[in-house]
């Protein structure tokens, strides 16, 4: 789900009480496509035993960008422009949104 302002049609992420700039409070929840593209990506080199992890900015098909990580591919093989699809991951601390390359989705 993602917020959308009724009057302007613009999507808003992260969720707020009002649309940025206009201050309109006509935000509604709509289904998100889950589609996006990698805007930038890095590999966080962690201390062992924690494996290296990906960190990426995803440009959602709806417009806004969100911080996330790309899974299902080696962290250093993620590329800018790569088409990705959202899925929900839960590692025990509660569910959150990650992305995987579209062809693997």
């Amino acid at each position: 789900m993602i917020q959308r302002a009724r009057a302007s049609g613009a999507y808003v992420f992260y969720p707020r009480v009002a649309e940025p700039r206009t201050g309109e409070t006509d935000l509604e929840w709509v289904e998100a496509s889950g589609s996006g593209a990698v805007y930038s990506t890095t590999v966080q080199r962690n201390r062992r035993p924690t494996p290296d992890s990906n960190l990426a900015l995803i440009e959602l098909a709806e417009g806004p960008r969100m911080l996330s990580k790309v899974v299902g591919i080696a962290p250093d093989e993620v590329r800018i422009g790569m088409a990705v699809q959202a899925r929900i991951l839960d590692e025990g601390d509660g569910p959150f949104v990650v992305f995987e390359p579209e062809q693997a989705a």
């Binding site: 992260y14 590999v43 966080q44 992890s53 960190l55 969100m66 509660g94």
Partner: protein
């Protein structure tokens, strides 16, 4: 927009740093106080002479109260800016406006942090409900994302990033107070431990202790307090985001706006500057700021810094104290950049004083994750 600035109406009359490196046993506010008292003494002043306090201690949300109390200052105006490391350039603008309007007569801009030796005392920030799961290693991860995007769009290379660190080290080698000295090559930077691709540990600023202070008065009094005051010719800030996901374009910072306005106020352009202090939390920063402040076209920053152009002996002296990369970086570096810009102009930089005349000096601050940018332009009496 009427973006007026009291050009030349106020000046920096003295600066000081204290405890750069490791200062065990001292609290952050102790470092701030040492630097403040030393800076005031250089101008023949004491804390009791101060009536405007401009500060922002990293882990003391009420430093607008604790700093005046500690130093015994009866403050008529206080400012406790919270825009990250650029806060101190913004505070210099606020101090200039307050001095010019008569809200205060002696302004103290002060900072201190025992980030290195006192790190155990820091409480982690509360988890971000929208980002906690990704375990981002801020701030470096955000700068890595910006660097990757810059490399993708403009062909910037890791070698060009490394040139920034090598230049900073060469400047630090001229500065006895710089924390990190000794030889450093491009290969050393490239071969250092990778932290967040493409940034190695040598692409990252230091983690040190340190305090800094800058004293400002109106121009008429400045002439009595300093042999060669550093007049504020212009100053402007621009804030674009907090979270890196909300940055409109990862290759363009608010320095485009802050720089354009500060230069317009000053009546000078990039090519007129004799020395630049550009907040170098990471090696990508000076590249972005040289582009955004107008020293080279967008995308050319990597090539611009190559061949030693910003190193000692180069065309554009950048971060002449060694910067955040090799001199000092106690959590926030902005005030150290401002102090160095003023010292180079006042001729008080000591052993690392530039061997060329400095009539116009620029200090650029960067806050949080490229979030806030603030530019201050200083000039000698001959530039008024």
């Amino acid at each position: 927009m009427n973006d007026a600035f009291p050009r030349g109406k106020t000046a920096i009359v003295s600066t000081a740093t204290y405890g750069m490196g490791e200062a065990p046993g001292l609290q952050s506010i102790d470092l701030l106080a040492h630097a403040s008292i030393a800076a005031l003494a250089k101008a023949g002043l004491t804390p009791a002479d101060v009536d405007g306090v401009f500060t922002g201690m990293p882990f003391d949300l009420l430093s607008g109260l604790s700093v005046p109390e500690y130093l015994g200052i009866e403050a008529r105006i206080t400012d406790n800016n919270r825009t990250g490391g650029s806060a101190f350039q913004t505070l210099a603008v606020a101090a200039a406006l307050a001095l010019d309007s008569g809200q205060c007569d002696v302004a103290l801009i002060a900072y201190g942090s025992n980030l290195r030796t006192g790190v155990g005392a820091i409480a982690p920030p509360p988890p971000d409900p929208f980002e906690w799961a990704y375990k981002a290693r801020y701030p470096i991860s955000a700068y890595a994302l910006a660097a990757v995007r810059h490399m993708h769009e403009f062909g910037t290379t890791r070698e060009q990033l490394a040139e920034v660190a090598v230049a900073a080290r060469a400047w630090a080698n001229r500065n006895p107070l710089a924390v990190k000295r000794g030889p450093l090559t491009v290969d050393d930077v490239l071969g250092a431990r990778m932290v967040c691709d493409p940034l190695t540990v040598r692409d990252c600023c230091l983690v040190t202790d340190g305090g800094a202070a800058v004293v400002m008065t109106r121009a008429d009094r400045a002439r009595d307090l300093a042999a060669r005051p550093a007049y504020l010719l212009g100053g402007a800030a621009a804030t674009t985001h907090n979270r890196i996901a909300a940055m409109p374009d990862l290759t363009v910072t608010g320095a485009v706006d802050s720089g354009r306005r500060a230069f317009a106020q000053a009546g000078y352009g990039p090519g007129d500057m004799d020395a630049l202090q550009l907040y170098d939390a990471f090696t990508i920063n000076p590249i972005l700021f040289l582009e955004d402040l107008g020293f080279c076209p967008k995308g050319e920053g990597g090539r611009f810094v190559s061949g030693g152009r910003i190193a000692p002996g180069g065309e554009f002296p950048v971060n002449t104290n060694g910067g955040g990369l090799s001199c000092v970086h106690p959590g926030m570096y902005g005030l150290f950049a401002l102090a160095e810009a003023a010292d180079q102009l006042m001729g008080t930089a000591g052993e690392h004083q530039l061997d060329r005349p400095v009539e116009l000096s620029l200090a650029h601050g960067n806050g949080m994750l490229l979030s806030s940018q603030a530019t201050v332009i200083l000039g000698s009496a001959s530039t008024l």
